[in-house]
Symmetry: C2
Subunit: 368 residues, 2 copies
């Protein structure tokens, strides 16, 4: 299986490595020990029911136990509904009962939901303990870089959270082999996004290699995840707390989050909603003067990796507009959009009028 | 009423001032504006029912509104039970409904409970917004320095939290004039503690000025709060994240927290529990070789400011010992105690045997 790719996310004192390769779960015990994770303090693995039904959890537990760690596991229901304060509190109870102390580590084995949830537990348990991510989805390449962790509130997504950097990320490509087709495409949404905001060559590469990616070819997938993580790492290293530059990572998210909220987080997967949001942002860009090609290439490459590029007609425009007002990008009364000015380059526009956004939402519904 | 005392807590980029004086609530609007708090983003005041029944809340709201701020107020039940995830979630709901955005500020008007609770909301709402403390108790001088915010879990106190520094602290001495006698003494517990760990002269000053402090003489109180905050600021500036030095602030807290947990957070006020805990730590110190005077002076000065120095006989020793195991100072199996080696100087002892602690708890109960 060869040596993994290694990317270091440069966060000063809190820098950490991302390992990307095959068979990394079986090496977890060794890597934890190398990274100075304490053998004396209990480790808590957080995962979901779907993952627990497969064999990755058993492999991870066994690798850590063989290396001498004391391991406890909490299994949460699969899906966005677990990113709640209720499940959060249950995990804190579990952590207390398992005797986790200030030198303990919480390991997130799963996708973005598990990462965000377990990460927020790690960020706030005893005001912050260590955290390791073992992502099992393509989409999680995005949330595994940058330290953003959170749970949802019934009125808004990701509204309760923290910035908490992991000690390391172990990205085992073997965990991705059983992903359903729809989730593969949804995961590639953020991969393509990283190209669209930063690297036109990588967008072209995604187009050329779409079939290999959809077929989960490990070499192509490893490269795409490495590139996606690299772009995100470059951005967050320069701006951890989302004051300015980091906002460019929100390409497609203003409309995307609103669509998820209105559709109930179920009809649309996150990556699908973001895909539609990116097409919307590209449409907006053209309205604001960008070349028509920004729109056609954005739409083409997202289609190529199997993503929806049209807005579901059954979603109410008023509800979509309302949902945007609760978005963190809606700041001091004006609406902020990340606008792609060319493929591989975006700008932050703080004064996009709500009526223009409404017009685009309506147009996208008519095309659907 | 003259100019307030000003103390700067040096936290690098996150340094902030503490103003201590009379009439500061009426100047809040002016000071918020001076400190760059945004006029465009809504402010949320969090306070409790007791405070809301007096006139400080109305003064604060009016001062902020006159300066042009948009103000919303959330009133929580008084007492430790409000430091729960349930009340936390209600506050997040309130913040969302009031339209708080990333540039908004949360103001804690109240004692330690309100400060810890509102502070954790500020720390985690949208992954962290601004926070201003307006303490209304003596005890809150302690929690207003250092950025430790948290809520409780049914199994352990302060177990869910963050480090989140305020923008500033407005300590209006007028709010202290209506404090019940018992709370005055409980508040002075942490003031005396700051002397015991750092400044023998200040311990002597507390002894000499005990009557003035108990009579709430503004000059004496202002000085004592300034000194207490100064010691805490000096410690946390050097060690924000409680890796080492900051632990000395936990003098009296290992036994104290356990007593609070066992007594149910109601029979004993925090300051009272800490007072008994400091006497216990002094007893431990003498057992470990310190001069007998460490014990007699500690006990004397705490008695002088009206605090209990004996352990209630009705508290079960086994339960007290069990409660200590959930304490954050119980790390990797060994018990850590802050031990006063002289008046004004403490050491961190990481290997205090549980049996010695049990012996001291038993002895203190027999003296009661």
């Amino acid at each position: 299986m060869g040596e993994p790719r290694v990317l270091t996310v440069d966060m000063g004192e809190r820098s950490y490595p991302i390992y990307i390769g095959e068979g990394l779960i079986d090496q977890a015990g060794k890597r934890f020990a190398e990274h100075g994770i304490s053998l004396k303090s209990p480790i808590l693995i957080v995962t979901d029911e779907n993952i627990a039904a497969g064999n990755h959890l058993a492999h991870l537990e066994s690798s850590l136990k063989q290396a001498g760690f004391t391991v406890s596991t909490a299994i949460v229901p699969a899906g966005e509904s677990s990113k709640s304060l209720t499940v959060f509190q249950e995990l804190v109870t579990h952590a207390l009962q398992a005797g986790l102390d200030r030198k303990s580590t919480i390991v997130a084995l799963g996708g973005g939901v598990v990462g965000d949830l377990a990460g927020f537990v790690a960020a706030s348990y005893m005001r912050g303990i260590k955290f390791v991510q073992v992502p099992t989805t393509i989409l999680a390449h995005d949330s595994s870089v940058g330290g953003k962790v959170a749970v949802n509130h019934p009125l808004a997504k990701n509204i309760i959270g923290a910035f908490h950097q992991p000690e390391m990320v172990l990205y085992d490509l073997n965990t991705l082999q059983t992903l359903p087709k729809r989730e593969v495409s949804a995961g590639l949404s953020e991969v393509v996004k990283h190209g669209l905001i930063w690297d036109a060559d990588f967008v072209a590469w995604c187009d050329e290699n779409a079939e290999r990616l959809l077929a989960l070819d490990p070499e192509a997938l490893g490269y795409a995840l490495y590139k996606g993580c690299s772009v995100k790492a470059a951005v967050v290293s320069k701006d951890e707390r989302e004051n300015d530059l980091r906002a460019i990572l929100n390409l497609g998210h203003t409309i995307g989050h609103a669509l998820e909220a209105v559709a109930g987080y179920k009809q649309l997967l996150h990556g699908e909603a973001i895909s539609i949001g990116m097409v919307g942002a590209a449409r907006l860009a053209v309205k604001l003067g960008a070349s028509e090609q920004v729109y056609t290439v954005t739409k083409h490459v997202l289609s190529r990796v199997g993503l929806p590029v049209r807005l579901p007609v059954d979603l109410d425009t008023d509800l979509i507009m309302d949902a945007m007002k609760h978005d963190k990008k809606f700041q001091e009364g004006s609406m902020t959009f990340i606008v792609p000015v060319a493929i591989g380059r975006v700008e932050i526009n703080h004064s996009v009028s709500a009526s223009l956004v409404r017009e685009i939402v309506e147009q996208m519904k008519q095309e659907a």
